[in-house]
Amino acid sequence: MEAIPMIKLEEVYKTAINTLEFLPGKCANCGMCINVCPHEVFRSGQKRVEMVHGEACMECGACQRNCPTGAIRVDSGVGCAAAMISAALRGKKEVSCGPECCD
């Protein structure tokens, strides 16, 4: 008899190098994360989406924002050393692009 693939509802898939977390137990398989990801981190699967390139995540936050069931968590922000260093030098916590930076 073939084993039925099971998944714990609270299971969390993580990567070692960034803050991306995928909770397949919550995934409704809508595929929105696949549509919005610029680095093909997710792939469509049978019952739920699969996280296949978690390490390629640049933490833009598009998947989390567009996931209707809250199956993706990521601490999003800009991967820009110039912005982080200038924010640190000016004693600011908020790091982002815009008129203060790159303009």
Partner: protein, 298 residues
């Protein structure tokens, strides 16, 4: 800051109530890319107020976002203008817009099109983006476009410093700084994928070491040096002055790339800034020692 389009609804060609609605930022270049790609299509373009910032950066800040989109749909009365309830957004606007929330609040369903406007004519045929259309690239052309921007951002030190150093200490220090500028600002963006190692800073340190070796070889030949302690001292000094500086410039290029994450860059800053500082200080000390030894005729 001055490249703004007035936010609102624009018609392209001769749209009917069935024509598609494309959403973009009020940054001139974003708007122009979109209308150029759509020149043969009768359609509506909904321009959000992103304060003149492009789609990707505005989405990150949230100005290209759910709130702004919902408020524009309502203030314009889009429901009375088109009979369908579909919006096509650029994929890179997704970090700011929650498609399911927009639908809940306005009835309009959000469809994420391709990353690049130029792919829109193909996209419209099927309303299905290929993997190629979804992927963000960073090829030679993309990187070459950034070089003039990098040059402009670095002129503040790259222009006066060689002149000052030339007056204070002569041609070689001036050339050394120019070498840093060329390697870090011009060559690094172009060579990014072919430089070994993963981190931007270490790639820059490698490139800077080669630059240091090159300028030393030129001086060795021009000044007719003999190979000894002084020459080796200068070699180490040049490498240790140029490579950390190029490494620092390279580290600052992370934000211009299309794939670095905040977590990764934070680790890189904490890991490499101390190394860069120590290398540079060692370089200064070695340069001083070599110059003294040189002037004493060792």
């Amino acid at each position: 800051m001055y490249h703004r389009v007035e936010p609102g609804l624009y018609s392209l060609g001769d749209p009917t109530p069935e024509s598609p609605v494309f959403v973009t930022a009020n940054y001139t270049l974003s708007f122009d890319a979109l209308r150029t790609a759509l020149k043969d299509f009768d359609s509506y373009i909904l321009v959000l107020d992103t304060k003149g910032v492009n789609v990707w950066c505005a989405a990150g800040k949230g100005t290209f976002g759910t709130e702004e989109l919902v408020s524009k749909i309502e203030s314009i009365g889009l429901k009375k203008i088109v009979t369908h309830q579909r919006l096509i957004l650029p994929q890179l606007g997704a970090p700011g817009v929650a498609a399911h929330d927009v639908r809940k609040r306005t009835g309009f369903s959000v469809e994420y099109g391709p990353v690049r406007a130029e792919d829109l004519p193909d996209y419209i045929k099927t309303h299905q983006a290929t993997e190629e259309m979804r992927r963000v690239r960073f090829d030679l052309k993309d990187r070459a476009i950034l070089v003039p921007v990098e040059i402009k951002n670095n002129l503040l030190w790259a222009l006066p410093l060689p002149i000052i150093l030339f007056i204070v200490s002569g041609i070689w220090m001036a050339l050394l700084v120019l070498m840093i500028f060329v390697a870090g600002v011009v060559l690094f963006p172009l060579l990014l994928p072919v430089l070994p190692t993963k981190h931007f800073a270490s790639k820059g340190i490698i490139l800077g070491s080669i630059a240091g070796l090159l300028i030393w070889m030129v001086r060795f030949w021009v000044d007719n040096w003999s190979f000894g302690a002084v020459a080796i001292g200068y070699l180490l000094a040049y490498v240790l002055l140029i490579s950390p500086w190029v490494g620092y410039i390279s580290l600052n290029f992370t934000g211009a790339s299309t794939y670095t994450s905040r977590t990764g860059v934070r680790k890189e800053i904490f890991g490499f800034i101390p190394v860069i500082a120590v290398m540079f200080i060692c370089g200064l000390v070695l340069l001083a020692l070599s110059s003294v030894a040189d002037s004493m005729g060792w």
